[in-house]
Each structure stands twice: as structure tokens, then as C-alpha cells.
């Protein structure tokens, strides 16, 4: 299925909410809005309250766990990786170690 083959990037997008269709209408003659492509549209608009989000969130969590294993960053996200919350773990790394004030 197209949707399941889409990038996991939608899990870590900044805004968890999907914009209303009125605010983000489709570009005439295409299947996407302001995102500019079908792939970007999936990343921007796939709902994070969908039943399959949980498994995607867990997949991101596993990738993050692999990335920080044995490093000083591991402790920062341990709470979230234990609960398989990839999105929260990612946002924690961003805010703790890669924020604008870092």
C-alpha cells in the first residue's frame, strides 16, 4: 500500500496536527497541496492518531535507540525508547542537544 510505504518522517514532523483542507487546498490538477508532492503530502498530512501510528512510532524509537546506543545521549531518551515513543524521543534530542540555543 502506498501509505505504508511512505517515509517515517511523518512521525517526527514538527506539527502533529493536520491542517484543515480549507487552509491547505489541493493544487489544481494535482493530488497534493502546498507540500508540493505526493510524498511530502504524506509526511505533512498523515494523521498521528491513526491506529498504525503506534507501530511507526515504535519503528522510529528503535532507530533512535540504535543511533544513541552507548553514547551520552542514551540517557536523555531512555524514558521514551522504553515506551517505544519515537516521536517524543526525537523531539527530546532536538530540544536538549540541537535546539537554537545549543
Amino acid at each position: 500500500m502506498l501509505v505504508r510505504g511512505a517515509s517515517l518522517s511523518y512521525v517526527i514532523r514538527v506539527d502533529p496536527l493536520v491542517p484543515a483542507e480549507v487552509d491547505d487546498p489541493l493544487v489544481a490538477g494535482s493530488g497534493f497541496g502546498s507540500s508540493g508532492s505526493v510524498l511530502e503530502e504524506l509526511i505533512k498530512r498523515l494523521a498521528q492518531n491513526h491506529p498504525l501510528f503506534k507501530s511507526d512510532d515504535a519503528a522510529v524509537s528503535s532507530l533512535l535507540e540504535e543511533a544513541v546506543r552507548g553514547t551520552r545521549f542514551e540517557a536523555t531518551i531512555k524514558t521514551f525508547t522504553k515506551r517505544k515513543q519515537g516521536r517524543n524521543a526525537y523531539l527530546t534530542i532536538v530540544s536538549s542537544h540541537a535546539g537554537v540555543d545549543k
Binding site: S9, G29, L39, R45, A67
Partner: protein
């Protein structure tokens, strides 16, 4: 309801759209795909099954009268007979693309409409992108970059996004 009766007929029967004949459309309706909204229950495998089923005619079942009182109907008739027909490959391809597009719109919180389900103007281009995404998904993803002293978080974030 976004698609009215006439729009559904136009969608399934107009040549640039699904291009089904009235008989093929009637047969497909008997399989459960009568409206655009029915795509919710029809994915690629289901469409293949429906196309296979269309090749077999289903005869009408006549009424069965009560054995004791011949004026009473024991079992009502099951009309009408469904004729056998074939589904051209081109139509089946269009239906598959429309099904993928329909599910895509639902997943991204957009309502499928006669405008965004137009095959010539939208779905043809959508199909090209959808196929590219499917190929991309099959490609081997790069290894997860390790976050360490040599790769600070700012640089690591960019490469991490690439492996998702």
C-alpha cells in the same frame, strides 16, 4: 456525499475515467463496487478478485411456491441474473489507480471529489508519483547514523531524517 448518482456513473463509465460499459458497471456493482466511496473496501487484490468473479454468470433464482398452498410463495425469487462479462486490462488498471488514490486521500484527511479523482487531470500524474514512492520504499535505507562526538546533533539530525 461528495459523488452523486450521476457523478458515480460518469466516473465509472466515461471513457477517460474508468471506461466501463454499462454491463461491466452493473456487474461490478453486483460485486459491491457501485460508488466511488466503495473503494474503501476495494484494494488491488479485491479488484482482481472482482474481475475474476465477473467472468462467471450468476443465474436468477426463480421463486419457490409453498408445497401445501401453491398460491403462497415459500421463497421469493432472487433477481436479476448477473451476466458474465470481462474486464479490460486498461479498465482494471484505472480502477486500481483510483483505489490507491482514494485510500491516499482518506489517509491524508482530504475528501475524494469528482475533481481530484479525475483520471486524466489528476490520477495519471498521481500514479507516476505513487509508483516512484513504492520503488523508493523498496530501496535499502542507509544505516542509522550514530550520534557521537564526531557527529554533533545538528549534523546527525539531517542524516537521521534520510534513513527514515
Amino acid at each position: 456525499m461528495v459523488f452523486n448518482h450521476q457523478e458515480n456513473i460518469n466516473f465509472f463509465q466515461n471513457a477517460p475515467q474508468m471506461g466501463l460499459s454499462p454491463v461491466q458497471y452493473a456487474c461490478l456493482s453486483a460485486e459491491g463496487l457501485a460508488t466511488v466511496e466503495s473503494f474503501l473496501d476495494f484494494e488491488e487484490d479485491d479488484l482482481d478478485s472482482a474481475a475474476r468473479n465477473l467472468r462467471v454468470a450468476i443465474p436468477a433464482v426463480p421463486e419457490i411456491m409453498n408445497a401445501v398452498d401453491p398460491l403462497l410463495v415459500a421463497f421469493p425469487p432472487v433477481p436479476p441474473a448477473i451476466p458474465a462479462c470481462t474486464m479490460p486490462a486498461n479498465c482494471l488498471k484505472h480502477l486500481n489507480i483510483a483505489s490507491v488514490a482514494y485510500h491516499y486521500y482518506i489517509y491524508i484527511g482530504r475528501e475524494p471529489t469528482p475533481v481530484n479523482m479525475n483520471f486524466t487531470r489528476v490520477l495519471r500524474g498521481f500514479h507516476i508519483e505513487a509508483e516512484a514512492i513504492k520503488k523508493l520504499a523498496k530501496q535499502t535505507k542507509p544505516d542509522v547514523p550514530v550520534l557521537n562526538k564526531n557527529t554533533p546533533p545538528n549534523k546527525w539530525l539531517e542524516s537521521f531524517r534520510d534513513c527514515l
